[in-house]
């Protein structure tokens, strides 16, 4: 029997992962700051002004990473919720629960920055095109997940019910995304169709990728911190929690 196999399952208990999460957090903070500085520098000091949109386009360095993260986190959340339901592992469900509020925040930021980008570009604060609309629906899906979980008192039942909802939602996400392709829409296509020479598009792309990495690292940090709080709350009755130095009298 390989030791690695045993170690994986050992790590899947709240008890063993709690200290690991604690040690990971500073590293991901460091990555967040690193990518953030790099991304903002490229986005605001290197990428040139756009010919058609002027400097308002710089919002994409926040809008696109937030959108990508909101969709990515939802899929990851649904995956771990499903894992928790299939293998009955508490930690998987807790991790899904930790991701949800951060994902919802990303969806909100995507909508906010999208509106602020839309106003100078298309003249309206809210354009009911499919991309922004599906982001709004995603926000509702997040809120539904959190609301359902909060409404059920028994934690494991709440985990499982919310998991079913998340899986149903995840099937809907491509359908909603598909309606983007189907619709004639004001929104930009999936890549920035900045009408520029490729070399110009390069710096913009780099800025976006760096900021996306920054947001990704940040999401992991926020979820890890939340996970530790959830573990403490749910495992409050256990020996190892009561023996924690932070919980001493």
């Amino acid at each position: 029997m390989s030791h690695r196999l045993i170690n994986w399952f050992k790590l899947s208990s709240p008890y063993s992962f709690f200290p690991v999460a604690g040690r990971l957090i500073p590293w991901f903070w460091a990555l967040t700051v690193l990518f953030g500085i790099a991304g903002l520098y490229v986005g605001f000091f290197i990428a040139p002004t756009d010919a058609t949109q002027g400097d308002s386009y710089r919002i994409i360095f926040l809008h696109v990473p937030a959108s990508w993260m909101s969709m990515f986190i939802y899929i990851v959340m649904a995956f771990w919720a499903g894992m928790g339901m299939a293998f009955n592992t508490r930690l998987s469900s807790m991790w899904a629960l930790s991701l949800a509020p951060t994902g919802a925040l990303m969806a909100f930021l995507s909508l906010w920055t999208g509106a602020l980008w839309g106003k100078p570009t298309w003249g309206a604060w809210w354009v009911w095109d499919a991309r922004l609309t599906s982001e709004l629906i995603l926000l509702f899906l997040y809120l539904g997940f959190m609301a359902l979980h909060a409404a059920i008192d028994e934690p494991r039942r709440a985990d499982r019910a919310a998991a079913v909802l998340a899986l149903v939602g995840v099937v809907n996400v491509p359908i909603i995304y598909f309606s983007v392709k189907w619709w004639n829409t004001l929104h930009q296509g999936s890549t920035i169709s900045m009408t520029k020479a490729p070399s110009m598009a390069q710096t913009m792309l780099w800025g976006m990728l760096l900021m996306a990495l920054c947001f990704w690292m940040y999401s992991i940090v926020a979820a890890l911190i939340r996970l530790r709080a959830i573990i403490l709350e749910r495992e409050a009755h256990t020996d190892w929690v009561l023996r924690l130095p932070e919980a001493a009298a």
Binding site: L148, L165, I175, S179
Partner: protein, 243 residues
């Protein structure tokens, strides 16, 4: 035969139908639910009247110009259909849950997905089909031409089963949960949106001359997808809610 014995008879039939892909389970549940709905006609008719009133509110609130009404008509009627369907969703499992029949169904050896399908079909026959029939008549209020009314009815015919199917998952998940009705709406309405988009879009596409074929096919695809996934999702949700 009273409802109680009818119910017992149905549960008996469900139990006897046993394993194997027997449609008796589905038809027993379907017949029982329809009978119970007929007994509670008021509930059913309330949802329909709600649909009627809501559709009439929009012209009153917006103005009677035919051009404007023709534009908002499809959307208003579809939203009304969504809301009317939602009003009846709680009924699907709640009363059976209260008197223990639902637990019997879950414990019985009949395949639960089939029983669930029976309930969903009953819900659609009672909440969805009347909407399909009523909507073209209401569509006249919005000055829609016969072609548009036909597309509206066809879209609703394909779409309202999708609404009942998706709603079943929500109803099963929120069974016995605090704030059930409002929470159910929060959960289910976002999932309804693709159906709404393609359904109302079909009529609008027809009106603009583009033809509704694409939209209607997409609705058909949604129906196929829902028929595939929902029985299993609802079954899982019921087992979780009843443990």
């Amino acid at each position: 035969m009273s409802i109680a014995t009818q119910g017992e008879g149905a549960i008996g039939a469900v139990r006897r139908s046993g394993e194997g892909f027997s449609m008796t389970a589905l038809t027993s549940v379907l017949r029982r639910d329809l009978l119970l709905a007929m007994r509670r006609k008021a509930e059913v008719l309330t949802a329909l009247f709600f649909f009627l009133i809501v559709s009439s509110l929009f012209p009153l609130g917006i103005g009677p110009e035919p051009a404007l009404l023709r534009k908002i008509g499809p959307g208003v009627l579809w939203v009304g259909a969504l809301l009317a369907t939602m009003l009846g969703l709680q009924r699907m499992f709640y009363s059976d849950h209260l008197d223990g029949t639902l637990e019997q169904m879950v414990l019985s050896s009949a395949p639960l997905p089939l029983l669930v399908m029976g309930k969903i079909i009953a819900h659609w026959l009672v909440s969805g089909l009347p909407v399909v029939i009523l909507a073209p008549i209401l569509g006249l209020q919005f000055d829609l031409d016969p072609g548009a009314l036909w597309i509206l009815a066809l879209g609703l015919l394909i779409g309202t089963p999708v609404l009942s199917l998706i709603g079943a998952v929500g109803a099963a998940l929120t069974l016995g949960v605090r704030g059930g009705g409002a929470l159910l709406s929060l959960l289910v309405l976002p999932l309804y949106i693709p159906t709404l988009i393609f359904g109302a879009g079909a009529v609008q596409a027809h009106l603009s001359g583009q033809g509704a074929g694409g939209h209607l096919s997409l609705l058909g695809a949604l129906l196929a997808l829902a028929l595939f996934f929902v029985p299993w999702a609802t079954t899982a949700a019921l087992r979780i809610s009843l443990e």
